[in-house]
């Protein structure tokens, strides 16, 4: 059978997956929103959470779209579309496709036309990410009851524990930014970007506190991220 990774059948499969994702997310959104109103949470605050998140999401979503474009060069469009919509990330999908291609001794320089190679890539991508989805419901109760125990013993330590967990995670990603320092000025670009983002957030924080521009809170993370990304283009053009 002729094989085209961008066939209408593949688009149909992609559409089915996308509809499922939208349905699941909408279900949780409506349920949480209604519950918030029911327990007396401020309607404006709930709406602001939606707005602020939606604005913040645009830029990272565009970077995911770049992932779809990158993968589409050899996998067609529908499969990367599916994979990047369900627990996918380019950092995983690209190595998964490359690893399978290497195992089969083929190149990923052009669109895959052998259906057996294509299905091998799909299976590797699927089985590689499956544990993340399965483990969440399996481990959730244990993790949460552990946290409840910590909090019930000492509520102040429980709060610090949560903050410390997040700071530990953020430290790993902040530390990673310094991995290129040995490569000279070019390797320092991520550090400059990090600092610019921090400075922009600092200025926004001052505007919120000193100039009472509380509305900026909704856009703060999006502004600092997009501003620092624009700075990355500027500083790269100077250094490289």
């Amino acid at each position: 059978m002729d094989f085209n990774p961008s066939s209408s059948f593949m688009y149909l499969v992609a559409a089915f997956v996308i509809v499922f994702i939208i349905a699941m997310a909408s279900f949780f959104l409506v349920r949480a929103y209604r519950r918030g109103l029911k327990i007396g949470m401020d309607k404006k605050m709930l709406k602001n959470s939606v707005l602020s998140t939606a604005i913040f999401t645009i830029t990272p979503a565009l970077s995911i779209l770049i992932g779809v474009i990158t993968l589409s060069k050899f996998l067609g469009i529908p499969l990367p579309w599916i994979r990047m919509s369900v627990i996918g990330a380019l950092t995983y999908e690209l190595p998964a496709a490359t690893s399978t291609a290497n195992a089969l001794g083929i190149s990923l320089s052009e669109t895959i036309s052998d259906p057996k190679v294509f299905t091998a890539v799909v299976w590797v991508m699927t089985l590689g990410i499956l544990p993340s989805i399965i483990l969440a419901p399996v481990l959730m109760k244990r993790i949460q009851s552990g946290l409840v125990k910590i909090k019930s013993k000492d509520s102040k330590w429980g709060e610090i524990f949560m903050d410390a967990m997040f700071l530990g995670m953020i430290s790993a990603f902040l530390g990673m930014v310094f991995s290129g320092v040995n490569a000279g000025l070019k390797g320092m670009i991520p550090i400059f970007v990090l600092i610019s983002s921090a400075l922009i957030m600092g200025v926004i924080g001052l505007l919120i506190k000193k100039c009472h521009m509380k509305w900026l809170e909704t856009y703060a993370l999006a502004i600092s991220m997009v501003g620092a990304m624009a700075f990355a283009c500027f500083v790269t053009s100077i250094i490289v």
């Binding site: 059978m1 949780f28 029911k38 939606v50 602020s52 990272p60 369900v86 670009i189 703060a220 993370l221």
Partner: protein
């Protein structure tokens, strides 16, 4: 419905959705194999998996343990289906909770986190779908060399802003893990490709330093 009932039903419905998601995810390769009558060789799949599974399965376990307490029940179920936790779901949930002035582990925190993760998932899915429809027009712009540095530096651009918010509030706790991670990455730059594995190391250092400071009443 009281808080306990709400939590119980969220857990039950979440499990229903996530196991359905597992079926949907598995159906994709199955229907493609059936349609094209092209089942791959088990050896090829195994070899391909060997190249990625050890690291990604490990990161998967780490992510579940790390992010579940941060995202709450509804947020976790949804985030682990839609993915991109580090660069999108976790920052958006924490940012929304920060702006709404609610804490993780409370019912309000659970609601705001779920709203943020759900909004993030819907907006991302819509943007990707629109992008796919308009790919011919958008691809040259997004793929252009002048914009490459922007997307290459998305994580530092995101974490710089987040760091200001969280480190300024807890700089004493942040100091030890931050210094340790900076030193580790400067000494072994190749670790940057497996940053997910270093997340638990950062968390252990952070928790140990927090406990030390707390016990000495320095927090």
């Amino acid at each position: 419905m009281n808080r306990e009932d709400y939590e119980k039903s969220t857990y039950f419905l979440g499990k229903l959705w996530i196991w359905s998601a597992v079926v949907v995810v598995l159906l994709v390769p199955i229907v493609i194999c059936l349609k094209y009558d092209a089942w791959p060789e088990g050896k090829a799949v195994l070899k391909g998996l060997l190249g990625v599974a050890p690291i990604y399965w490990t990161v998967g376990v780490i992510e579940v343990i790390t992010y579940t307490p941060m995202l709450g029940t509804g947020g976790t179920f949804l985030a682990f289906v839609t993915g991109n936790l580090t660069s999108m779901k976790v920052p958006s949930a924490l940012n929304a909770m920060q702006n709404a002035d609610v804490k993780q582990g409370t019912e309000e925190g659970e609601i705001i986190s779920t709203i943020a993760v759900a909004t993030c998932s819907i907006v991302t899915t819509i943007i990707i779908a629109l992008g796919v429809l308009l790919l011919t027009y958008i691809a040259p712009i997004l793929d252009s060399p002048s914009l490459k540095p922007a997307f290459d530096n998305m994580l530092p651009a995101l974490f710089g802003g987040l760091a200001v918010v969280y480190i300024s509030k807890n700089w004493k706790v942040a100091l030890a893990p931050l210094l340790a991670m900076i030193i580790i990455f400067i000494l072994v730059p190749s670790l940057a490709s497996s940053v997910g594995v270093l997340v638990p190391v950062g968390i252990i250092i952070s928790l140990a330093s927090a406990r030390f400071l707390y016990k000495r009443k320095l927090l």
